[in-house]
Symmetry: C2
Subunit: 447 residues, 2 copies
């Protein structure tokens, strides 16, 4: 069913108080789509559209609702109505919701859970945001190394409904230390009487709870894993991160990198749902910082006021010279920021890339000089054309080298290379451009 | 084994001609890591380091090698040595390699394959690049609807070694039309004597071969799928795209968007391996286009030459005013480009977002005015301070609104919103800034 049709059907059912009769129609609707549909309704209606469904389905749908909606419901709905859903949610989604509640709401929620669930929730929500611990789930399947393959499959069959995945199972010793991993594919191919420790992979890829979530996602993508086991400092198995959570992390981190590249601070919510105050705060800081950076460009111009007064025609070329420098810098900077993020290049490649960039930027500078020399002759005569062409060559090379080097410099000092944003590079290129242009003009025109 | 250690071990083995003795040491090395290690060696050595392994392992490792290296090997190595590897490769990786060969190399390769493999290869490589068809694999598991669950598991067990995944199996009718999907998890929970059509999901999520690869990846991510079935125009099942391929697509598309945002054309290879000529060609086009865009800024300055000659102090503020406009525009533009790409906003949201942007940009403009008014008084006196503050307010708002609207405008005309790059927005904001600034100055200073 298409989303608009589904929403209409739901609205109809609400109006005629016939939500119960929806169940048959909804059989083939994916929980993600149902969540998208009901998030168009306000809280009381949304709640009615959720609660006539079986609890297990409610929990699945609840997990797909936008975080803000989850919190809103958690606040408005009585604890007794909500707790069956919370209990059925997967452990990582439950911990995410919990972390978004106020201390008071947390205290109200905890008594509704069983002891084991409560301890699990408190443990999961204790990991620092942005780490493997904060995104992992504790609903993973473990197997004993001495089990036979036949019995292991039985264990997985029984546990399937409660586990995030049964396609990877983790083998732990009596101390809960991770000693192996086996996939369901390997299990169903293996001889039924073999012992797990005979057929498992003894050298599983794993991560610590403190690993950054983007590194976790990179590991999962690099090794094409379905799930990555997470261990604590004692090498004990404490959770898994599944590929679908890794995909969400990649999307989130990419959005953050895009925003950073445009000097926008980290938004915890989508731009559509962000308030005006929040957007203002996330944008104002760098705008103001960069204004003061641009004062240097202004000072450069002021310093060369006499040159400019003598040759006002020079001003015509100022915008295109400093813009070209900034544009070339934004190009090489962005190429490096992205290549560093994907691991295509690393900090040791700097000198090799710099050498190559000199050639590329030189060719670009020559082309750009050729593109403006005619304009120079037309607007200002031969002398000005020479100054403009020479400046263009130099500012394109300078901008490119600054753009290329800044991300490496930031990495070198353990800062995020993504901070080497277009606007920052542009501002630095502007100053360089102003100073180079008028220095060359002053020298060449003999002022 | 860490990568540098592994490379050292391999170099050692090559020098002493003891590659055969590596097999034991390599048992726990992941094919992805082995591929990364051997891609540091030149072709003949690389080939020696590959060929002593079992063919099945060779094929896996080969698939992880960088595309350029695959092609190099395919060209240098004799057809007889290569064909066993090519046969064992997964069908999508084989088609990717095939598409990178010259016509001559293709013709040389085809006779090495069996009839069925050849037809499969020609079909897969015939789909347009960037579509579902071009990234799908034909190594998927199909089940007959009348099979019992027990027999279906047997089928999957037998086929496991040759299939990309057996965790999702696809149910097709006698006409090969897709009629259902069932996961291995559902299969092992289901009663052994039930028929597949009784327990399968009758409404599977699927895509056409012509769907764009980024949309395929978005579907997989949205529904947390392990694999998405792909059908042809007759609804017949022709392939699947797995989650790990979707993750690769997301990375590739994101890189393209980053590059586009900095006016760099699409690179088919990593920036580290790109040649100087290629980098030049991918960067020069927009640099030149934008130069001519910036001529308008120059013309704006030339038009107001008299105003400038009377108040040279105005020039001090020119860089920071036009830069602020461009920076604010880059911020709102990037927020929109990314939100459109992730589906957080769509084209219908424009007027709502524009209304809100006026408020956010107004606040930003006020702050920026306040930040420069003191500077204005100090450098140019009260009159100039008023002109600068007023201009700052207006250019920040104008830049923001242009930045926000441009991606929607491009979308509206079916162009990629990512083309609304920082440099493009900056150039438009520059012209606007120059004209606004000197118009206000001419008017307020009574020139």
């Amino acid at each position: 069913m298409e989303l608009p049709v589904l929403i209409e059907t739901l609205r109809d059912a609400l109006e005629h108080d016939q939500t119960e009769q929806l169940i048959d129609k909804l059989e083939d609707v994916h929980p993600a789509d149902y969540a998208a549909a009901i998030s168009n309704f306000s809280s009381p209606d949304l709640w009615s559209l959720l609660t006539f469904l079986p609890t297990h389905t409610q929990a699945k749908i609840f997990g797909y609702l936008p975080p803000e909606t989850q919190v809103q419901l958690a606040i408005r709905v009585s604890r007794r109505s909500l707790s069956p859903i919370i209990r059925q949610m997967s452990s990582d989604e439950r911990a995410d919701l919990f972390n978004r509640l106020t201390e008071e709401q947390k205290d109200a929620l905890l008594p509704a859970l069983a002891q084991a669930e409560r301890e699990d929730l408190l443990l999961l929500s204790s990991y620092e945001e942005g780490t493997a611990g904060s995104i992992m789930t504790s609903d993973y399947a473990i197997l004993h190394p001495e089990l036979t393959v036949r019995n292991a499959i039985d264990v997985l069959r029984r546990e399937a409904p409660d586990k995030e995945t049964i396609y990877s199972a983790y083998v732990v010793d009596n101390d809960r230390k991770l000693i192996g991993v086996i996939t369901l594919r390997e299990l169903i191919i293996a001889p039924a009487n073999a012992r797990i420790h005979e057929v498992m992979n003894h050298d599983p890829i794993f991560a610590q709870t403190s690993m950054l979530q983007e590194e976790v996602a990179a590991l999962i993508s690099h090794y094409d894993l379905l799930a990555l086991p997470i261990v604590n400092e004692e090498q004990q198995m404490v959770g898994i991160v599944t590929y679908d959570d890794a995909m969400d992390v990649v999307e989130e981190e990419t959005t953050e990198d895009f925003h950073k590249a445009a000097t926008v601070g980290k938004l915890e919510t989508s731009v559509k749902h962000a308030g005006i105050g929040l957007l203002y705060r996330k944008r104002v800081l760098w705008l103001v910082i960069l204004v003061f950076g641009n004062i240097f460009s202004g000072a450069g111009i002021a310093y060369f006021e006499e040159t400019i007064a003598s040759y006002l025609a020079l001003l015509f070329f100022l915008p295109l010279l400093i813009a070209s420098s900034g544009n070339a810098g934004a190009q090489s900077g962005t190429l490096m920021v992205r290549a560093l993020a994907t691991g295509d290049v690393n900090i040791r490649d700097w000198s090799y890339l710099l050498g190559r960039e000199i050639l590329v930027a030189g060719l670009l500078g020559l082309t750009m000089s050729a593109a403006v020399v005619g304009l120079g002759i037309w607007r200002g005569g031969m002398d000005i054309a020479v100054v403009v062409a020479l400046t263009m060559m130099l500012v394109v090379v300078a901008g490119s080298l600054i753009g290329l080097s800044l991300p490496f410099l930031l990495s070198r000092f353990n800062l995020d290379p993504a901070t080497a944003s277009g606007p920052l590079i542009t501002s630095i290129a502007d100053v360089t451009g102003v100073v180079l242009y008028f220095s060359i003009a002053t020298w060449y025109l003999g002022l």
